[in-house]
């Protein structure tokens, strides 16, 4: 069941994720061509969200592999349950029984990649922050990403019946290998434009007034144009809207609430000072 582009857009929007045309094309092609999708973009732009939303839209299980330096095949693919195997050998000996097959399913600890391959209904596999893993790990991924198969030497080569939908995210702190990039479709997610961000805010912060959303989105747009150390992402602007909405109920106008809730948007001392010095041009008043 491959969704058409319009249906996909509508389904994502129902879950509160508003993607622009580029991202919709990327997701649609990834589903249609059954290729992994590599998403890059600034932190906070919604790369990880795509996978969770997709799993809800496609009604598939979400399997998440968080990468870090030193991640190895035992933690990502599979591991044999050695203590259990040893205990089986000992108890069989002590009772004088046959040991049986020590490489049966019951002794196999399935880690995320293997679970994704064996998932009956197919899964959405999120490989998060692949740039944090080292290049040795990327080599393990290559066999997996080309054919969606994993070789367990003691058992067999396990092939996925329903290929998982694979989403990889990267923050560009390390250059990924060409071999990995070649196997994936690629998309760079930029910050949304004003209209789209307003739609996102309305979906995630119910009860937000139209005027408030407009001024908030304008302010965020101006803030992102400043030379900050860390530009606020979409999650931060949603938090800011929620915080300001909570404060505005307690009296005081909307602009004042925005100023007070600023800690939800800007999380660095230097950035806060820079913003304070430019408050007038950002908020339109002192």
């Amino acid at each position: 069941m491959v969704l058409g582009e319009e249906q996909l857009a509508a389904a994502l929007a129902r879950e509160g994720y508003f993607a622009d045309e580029g991202l919709l094309t990327a997701v649609h092609l990834a589903l249609r061509l059954e290729r992994p999708l590599l998403l890059e973009g600034e932190p906070g732009v919604g790369k990880t969200e795509v996978a969770s939303v997709l799993s809800r839209v496609l009604d598939r299980e979400l399997i998440r592999l968080q990468c870090f330096e030193g991640l190895d095949s035992g933690q990502a693919l599979y591991e044999w349950d050695y203590p259990k195997q040893l205990l089986r050998v000992r108890t069989a000996e002590s009772r004088g029984q046959e040991i049986g097959d020590l490489y049966a399913e019951e002794f196999l600890l399935q880690r995320p990649l293997l679970r994704a391959v064996r998932s009956a209904r197919g899964a959405v596999l999120l490989i998060d922050e692949i740039d944090r893993a080292d290049s040795e790990f990327e080599a393990y991924l290559l066999e997996f990403l080309s054919d969606f198969q994993i070789t367990v030497p003691e058992l067999a080569t396990l092939r996925a019946e329903r290929p998982p939908v694979v989403v990889l995210t990267s923050n560009r702190t390390r250059e990924l290998h060409d071999a990995l990039r070649r196997r994936c479709l690629y998309h760079w997610i930029a910050f949304p434009d004003a209209e789209r961000e307003r739609a996102i805010l309305h979906a995630h912060v119910p009860g937000l007034a139209e005027e408030a959303a407009r001024s908030l989105v304008e302010a965020v747009g101006r803030i992102r144009a400043l030379p900050l150390l860390k530009r606020p992402g979409i999650a931060e602007s949603i938090d800011w809207a929620r915080g300001a909405a909570a404060l505005v109920d307690g009296g005081g106008g909307w602009p004042r609430a925005l100023r007070r809730a600023l800690g939800l948007l800007i999380k660095d001392e230097e950035d806060t000072r820079l913003l304070e010095s430019r408050a007038e041009e950002v908020f339109g008043h002192r």
Partner: protein, 361 residues
Amino acid sequence: MGAPPNKQADFFRAIAGAAPRDVTALYWYARVTLLSGVTGLAAFDRVFDAWFVRGGALEAAVPPPSDVESEVPAHRDGGGRPQSTVDVRPGSGTEASGLTTTAGRRFGSSDARQRDLMRALHTAWPASLPVIASRRRRPARHGRRLDMRRVWRQARRDGGELTRLRWTTRPPRARRLLLLLDVSGSLRQHTPELVRLAYTARQAARAEVFTFGTRLTRITAALASAHADPALAVVSRAVTDADGGTAIGVSLRRFLANPRFLALARGALIVVISDGLERGDPTPMVRATERLSRLAHRLVWWSPLACSPTYRPVTRGMAGVLRHLDHLGGVRDLATGLSEVERLPAVTAGPRRIAHLKEHR
């Protein structure tokens, strides 16, 4: 920009499956399947524009932008890219107002004395770098954690008995070295020797080397050669702002704005080789140095002016920077470089940010 065959096949499958309704849709189909990184985006846009929008062949093969990246042979990995690639919006470069030269600088060939010093440095660098335990465990004779796989394999061979235990350790690994070399006019006479110093660092350790003057250039890839002189020739072509003006603060800020370069600085031993004479307001330089100091394992500043025993860092720039440094040393050529490299283990072992306390020399 080339697209490998399997990516082209993807593109054709995409269009074959469902014909795109308009040029924009075709653009996205092509971009998602053929592009493999945001660095190729500008070239991709130009090619797509020329072919699909204006129709017909490109006027001559679209020449790559006539800046230095295309000249450095066989190094496509973005070495030498001065602008931050985080922001895809155009016009993000802040070209410093200062004299920007475009002629390459000749570094000459190395004489015997220089070659001897470079050999000595070659052994001195790895011995002076601070060490950290690697994140990837390796099998070992002794350790704190069991290697279950090997224990089990051994037990199988011994009939299920645990006869021998196998261990893993985290082997020591040298920390990354980040070298930031000022190539502006005020260091003109020292630049050939300093670039040779950078060359030995690159050969001997896990190092990244950048030069800055009015632009920021990554020369790590350019220095990757078995012999010094060809490497220096490549560098002299890559670095186009040698002997120009000085814009330290802007260059360091540009360095910190790029997430890849920032990741290189994290937990590394950072060595800045510069005289610290900044045109105009030194505040960006001081702020950038403060950030580098927070990111680095140790931040060391080497200045040719500090070779003189009577030097005191009194300019606004150097005075501001001094509190963030772990050591200020005097380096103006290979010999002084060698003695400073040998002093590095003491710096690494010592407390942080004490440069302003030490009586210089």
